[in-house]
Amino acid sequence: MQQLDALAREAVALADAQAPLSAAEAEVDRQMQVCNACRYCEGFCAVFPAMTRRLSFAKADVHYLANLCHNCGACLHACQYAPPHEFAVNVPRAMAEVRVQTYAEFAWPPALGALYRRNGATLALATGLGLALFLMLALVLQGSLFAQPPAGNFYAVFPHNLIVALFGAVFVFALVALAIGASRFWRQAAPGPASRAAAAEATFDALRLKYLDGGHGEGCNDADDRFTLWRRRFHHLTFYGFLLCFAATGVATLYHYVLRLPAPYPVTALPVLLGIAGGLGLLAGPAGLLWLNLGRHPLHGDPAQAAMDRGFIALLLFNSITGLALLAWRDSVAMPLLLAVHLGFVMALFATMPYGKFAHAIYRAAALLKWAIERRQPSTLRLKED
């Protein structure tokens, strides 16, 4: 069975090695040939040590390296071959251009990969539909967007089971779509089984954003060749804020089904405390990321992806703003309106998870795991000076 697996892997690899590269992939291949002959950036991140294990860059290698790149910018500012040099090496941009192609290529169902082409429009449309859905539902179910005091009970507006059914379906769909994408990315060039150490390392590197530390701990680049830890900090606020909000929902579900304690909960209850902490993180984090994004050096990343990046940040921001507003005014007459608006934004976020910037988390984590596995294997090259 293992042999069969290995054979299948080889066949896939062989087919892949001959697959023609897209223009963006060919550009990564070209730049990697320059980088592989230079190697000065080896200390910054995992991309360059992974590159030195290869002599040529087939489609699968390019996809892997592109998703391993965190777009930190360190190699661009340190590059002796960066524009205006005629070699025009700009690894963060070349990688970013391929990255978005991999998101589209691995998206499931495949036809929806096209949503990456006009991602700003995708997010706007999803938000519009999400808002319309819940505003209309509120009107249909209770005839008004405003409540009679005492308010505070969300399930008086939308029945609990309806919310569970709607969000459960969309969330499960998003998870399935992302899992299929990740699995296709993984199988494109599977590095072999993950040891416990490799899995732990990849998890740790993802959770602490190791490769936004610049390799020296002073951080990544943003507006210029100066290093800053702010991108890492804001990303942590965003990611852990997101997780806390998720945990709030999870704990509330337990309260509901296990403890038989239906919402609403007081401010001091665990679900609400988690939600407040998460909401604040999801407010400060995306706000900071947006601010940094607007000041980014013009050569960083792919300018064509600004809509995808900023649209996703804005969506996160509106999730936290509307969530906190709902909490603040949940006892007011505006509660149903606030609830409908919040749920509309949450629905837009969930529905676009497999077709927006969110997907980067999945592919980045998979690439980090590939690297953690690969770097434990002996290199097949025998360069004479090593």
Binding site: Q80, P83, E218, E385
Partner: protein
């Protein structure tokens, strides 16, 4: 009036500017290049050769002063000033904390450079990252920096610096001045004149590529020669390696090297071999091939390998010409087929069977062949075959200004009181010929720092004098 004027924008100039500023002087740094191209040849460097008595952060084992000195003595063939050389060596042992304070990060040797793990501290991100860090630190400390500011000449008064003339006609006075504006390797006319015409009637330097910055035109070097400054070194000497013939005219940097010469054979455009490709390990021999190729007709050489060598050398930046047969490779490279087949036939027949090991001086050699290949000689017989055209690539020139332990420019053997020199403009005092990895940065850092301190002291003394 500014205290210290620093002319140049690479490692030595930045070290001088930082030291002078730290000593309390006001400093103006003039970089001839625009901001995007700042840093001269330093942007292409990657490490610093460091003396150390015991393992030190990124450096393993020890590299004592005496060993460093013997290495320097060997590569220069004695063309060095022992007092200045030892000063550089000692400075290399204790400058890194200062460098770190100004934002430079070090890392262990890169993959493919294990032979330097003991002797050389690598800059994380390479020389451009170092240059960026120094510029940030300089600006934070209040050093004024001007880009696109080439200096055309100095105004001197009896060996004393008075003012600098800029390309735009501006005249800048200062109490002291540090010259750190590089060699003349980018000046095609000067190279042509220095290398002259060969017996074939060719001007060899016309076919040279410059591995570093296009801004090292040697304008100040020439100006100082005309002003009667004491000179050291031979203008026809330069560090010259064989690099990919498709490399850009300037700034090809490290990636244009082709590291498979010792794994194959080298022929000239007549398809004739001309030197022992397996004389010694490549890191010890790569620097002779520039001159060897420069002496061949058309200043071009062709490195030929077969598929046995693939994966055993640092990947080159451009893919080689490749062909399934040797005659096809000859045609693709534009080499005379009959001569090519004769050379390779003779080489292949002369290879003595041995046990190939590219990590040691193995017993694979040729017998009865001239020139011989002493090690790693294996028949070129396994397709596909690869060929790389190589040309001489100039890294830097050795011609410079004579100086002393205070980095002073000399006129008729007398040191100037307020004109100092650092970096490539004086490296020839320590490195009269040859090269060993990272020593240029050791010299630039040591003398840059000395020149900055001396210039600040001279300026502050004059300021105090004027006030009294």
């Amino acid at each position: 009036m500014i205290d210290v004027l620093v002319i140049g924008g690479g490692n030595a100039a930045l070290c001088a500017a930082l030291m002078a500023r730290e000593a309390g002087a006001t400093v103006l740094l003039l970089e001839a290049a625009p901001r995007d191209w700042r840093g001269g040849n330093s942007q292409h460097t990657r490490n610093l050769r460091c003396m150390h008595e015991a393992p030190q952060d990124v450096l393993v084992d020890a590299y004592p002063e005496e060993e460093f000195w013997q290495d320097l003595l060997k590569v220069t063939g004695g063309a060095t000033d022992e007092r200045l050389a030892r000063l550089v060596i000692r400075a290399s042992s204790n400058c890194r904390d200062w460098m770190r304070r100004h934002g430079v990060h070090f890392q262990p040797s890169l993959s493919g450079t294990l032979h330097l793990a003991r002797t050389n501290a690598f800059f994380m991100g390479g020389g451009k990252a170092l240059v960026n860090a120094y510029y940030r630190s300089a600006e934070a400390l209040g050093v004024q920096v001007r880009y696109d500011a080439p200096v055309t000449g100095l105004e001197l008064e009896g060996g004393r610096f008075v003012a600098a003339r800029l390309g735009n006609g501006e005249r800048l006075q200062a109490r002291a001045c540090v010259l750190a504006a590089g060699g003349f390797e980018s000046n095609r006319e000067w190279l042509r004149e220095a290398w002259g015409r060969n017996e074939r009637g060719e001007w060899p330097a016309d076919n040279f590529l410059i591995r570093g910055t296009r801004f090292n035109q040697g304008v100040l070097l020439k100006d100082m020669m005309d002003a009667g400054a004491d000179i050291i070194g031979d203008p026809s000497q330069s560090h010259c390696v064989a690099i990919d013939a498709r490399a850009p005219l300037y700034d090809g940097g490290i990636c244009t090297r082709v590291d498979c010469v010792s794994l194959g054979v080298m022929v000239n455009r007549e398809a004739v071999r001309f030197y022992d490709e397996g004389e010694d390990f490549w890191p010890k021999r790569y620097a002779i091939w520039g001159r060897l190729v420069a002496q061949q007709p058309g200043q071009i050489g062709y490195c030929l390998i077969d598929s046995k060598a693939i994966g055993r050398f640092m990947p080159p930046v451009f893919p080689g010409e490749h062909a399934p047969t040797l005659p096809e490779l000859a045609r693709r490279l534009g080499l005379p087929e009959a001569a090519f087949m004769k050379t390779l036939g003779e080489f292949n027949a002369a290879c003595v069977p041995g046990s190939f090991d590219h990590t040691v001086l193995d017993d694979c050699r040729t017998q009865g062949l001239a020139p011989a290949k002493s090690h790693w000689a294996r028949p070129i017989d396994t397709p596909p075959f690869f060929g790389y055209a190589l040309r001489p690539g100039i890294t830097f020139t050795y011609l410079g200004l004579k100086t002393n332990q205070h980095a002073a420019v000399h006129f008729g053997g007398v040191p100037s009181v307020n004109l100092f020199v650092a970096g490539e403009m004086m490296a020839g005092n320590v490195l009269g010929q040859g090269y060993t990895a990272g020593v240029g940065m050791s010299i630039g850092t040591a003398f840059g720092r000395i020149a900055g301190s001396q210039a600040a002291a001279a300026a502050l003394k004059e300021r105090a004098h004027a006030a009294a």
